[in-house]
């Protein structure tokens, strides 16, 4: 189990994180295979978002190591994570509110630019051709996620569900190998959840992107994901296929169990 296999894209070993003595994550280890959709589930405050923040360098873990694409490391800055192909969305939409949908998606491609700002300012050299290339790529993503009617609209004026999709588009524009989604379906109705699940599945199949997502809706998780990791109070209590996790007594007790006990009390 400890040997890194070819198909593993991401592997966490014994990761711990605390904030001024308050433990958020306690020695968590798990691995994500290339090309799979992996869900992190668990009650509020279980450390799911913190774990995503550790993976892409927003937080630095106090101990443990992360192996990504065959390279192990302790610390990484967020822009280094981006350079190595990790993109993400946030729980509370983190779009650039003063910019249009198109500009937001284009910022997702900032690492693909080769021309300097001087060339861009003078509109010389590589800049104009590159502008066309980046625009074309951004348009592909915009059409893929069907947000083209709003491409010139300021994102701050869009409804919530669309903003979520724009944020996904911005992350996708970077052509990531690993996509981290923090509650992509939070606050959505059943129809919107279905749509978003479909988009995530399409991204996974068409671009071969590995996805790690946090989601509270167990129905969605069981239907969408190949692999589920369950956290509770900063510890891992379950890890496996949806079927395995569903049958795990610890998971039932800590997470799904609340529902059963309520059912019993009736």
């Amino acid at each position: 189990m400890s040997a890194t296999t070819e198909s593993e894209l991401l592997r966490l070993d014994d990761i711990s994180l605390s904030f001024k003595g308050v433990k958020a994550i306690t020695s968590i280890s798990f691995a994500v295979k290339a090309g799979e959709i992996c869900a992190l589930i668990g009650p509020n405050g279980a450390g799911k978002s913190s774990l995503l923040n550790v993976i892409n360098g927003v937080y630095q873990a106090q101990s443990g190591s992360i192996t990504y694409a065959g390279q192990a490391r302790r610390r990484m800055r967020p822009h280094q994570a981006a350079e190595r192909g990790i993109a993400r969305t946030f729980q509370n939409i983190a779009l650039f509110k003063g910019m249009s949908v198109l500009d937001n998606v284009l910022t997702g491609r900032n690492l693909k630019r080769r021309s300097s700002w001087v060339e861009q300012m003078l509109r010389l050299g590589r800049a104009p051709r590159e502008d066309d290339e980046q625009r074309l790529h951004a348009e592909h993503i915009i059409e893929f996620l069907r947000i083209h009617p709003w491409r010139h609209v300021l994102v701050g004026t869009l409804p919530y569900g669309l903003q979520k999709r724009v944020e996904l588009a911005r992350a996708l524009a970077a052509q990531p190998r690993l996509l981290l989604l923090d509650e992509p379906m939070a606050g959505m109705n059943a129809e919107e959840k279905g749509q978003m699940s479909q988009f995530i599945r399409d991204i996974n199949r068409e671009f071969g992107t590995t996805v790690v997502l946090i989601e509270h809706d167990i129905g969605v998780v069981m239907g969408l994901c190949d692999h589920v990791v369950v956290l509770d109070y900063g510890r891992k209590i379950g890890d496996g296929t949806p079927e395995q996790v569903r049958a795990n007594p610890d998971v039932i007790a800590a997470y799904l169990g609340t529902r059963r006990s309520r059912a019993e009390s009736h």
């Binding site: 994570a81 779009l95 284009l106 910022t107 700002w117 992350a171």
Partner: protein
Amino acid sequence: MLYREAGQLSTSYAMERRTFRLRQDRVGLWLLLGFAFIAVPWLGNDYWFSAILLPLLVLSLAGLGLNLLTGYAGQLSLGSAAFMAVGAFAAYNLQLRVPGLPLLVSFALGGVIAALVAVLFGLPSLRIKGFYLLVATLAAQFVVEWVLTRFSWFTNDNASGVITSPPLLIAGLDFSSPRGRYLLTLAVVVVLFWLGKNLVRSELGRNWMAVRDMDTAASVIGIRLFKAKLLAFAISGFYLGVAGSLWAFAYLGTVEPHGFDLSRSFQVLFIIIIGGLGSVLGNVLGAAFIVLFPILLANLFGLLPGGLIDSGQLENLQKMLFGALIIAFLIKEPEGLARLWQRFRQRARIWPLRY
């Protein structure tokens, strides 16, 4: 009806990317430039050149400099006048100590030196933001003013600290007349505005806005915050430095530290707030407001029968009225004059229809 947009379709990304996509806008811009370069020098008088147009142009440029930093990159600064002073004194000393250096080259080098100083005072922005950064940049204001008055080398050991700027000679032509100074300033300002407009629409401009709107998300998509912020300070410093040279050489005609005191920094800040943060045109509108309104008020008060209010109080009254007008305007339109113009243009595009 003013805007006949029918048939003006973009058939390539390059066409859609144009700064002015509509033919009417482009024609309007060329007419305006023609008016400013040909008609104004022909029709204008010395009073208009020296008292209105020169400060308007230079302050627009300074406004753009600060707007790149504050309106686009989201970094607050109260050091604008300090960077203008660095530019002006650097250009003056280069003229003085490097024989044969062309004037425009010394303006540009002055801008580069101001950029370096701005980067130095921008370093705290990597750690602090908002009002704390404002206070840190305030340090630039005090340090620069102190250095320039304390060390007489900068003022060439001049006893009064006030130096008459050298004649404005470019390629053998003398631009020292009010008309010449206006044309020189206009040319520099137009070129720098064109570059600034390109800049904010480029990748760097987008990165700046990303840092302004949500810096965590910006770093997560791969934007290097420290590079984006320091470049904002550098480019802003360059613009302010060139504006400072123009202020001293073309407008005041003297180079003195007190032309660049804290109230000048506030003036530039007011210009971008009234004009509109995150706008290029707004700087011109804001500068026009700041320069023209007091003059307009003074003229209106001049119409009052003499002796009604004594002149000392009249001046105070003007300042109070000006302040009240700024407050009233900002309550009505917090996003500034640029937004007002945008809305007017939107209306004009569909006029006489309403929606």
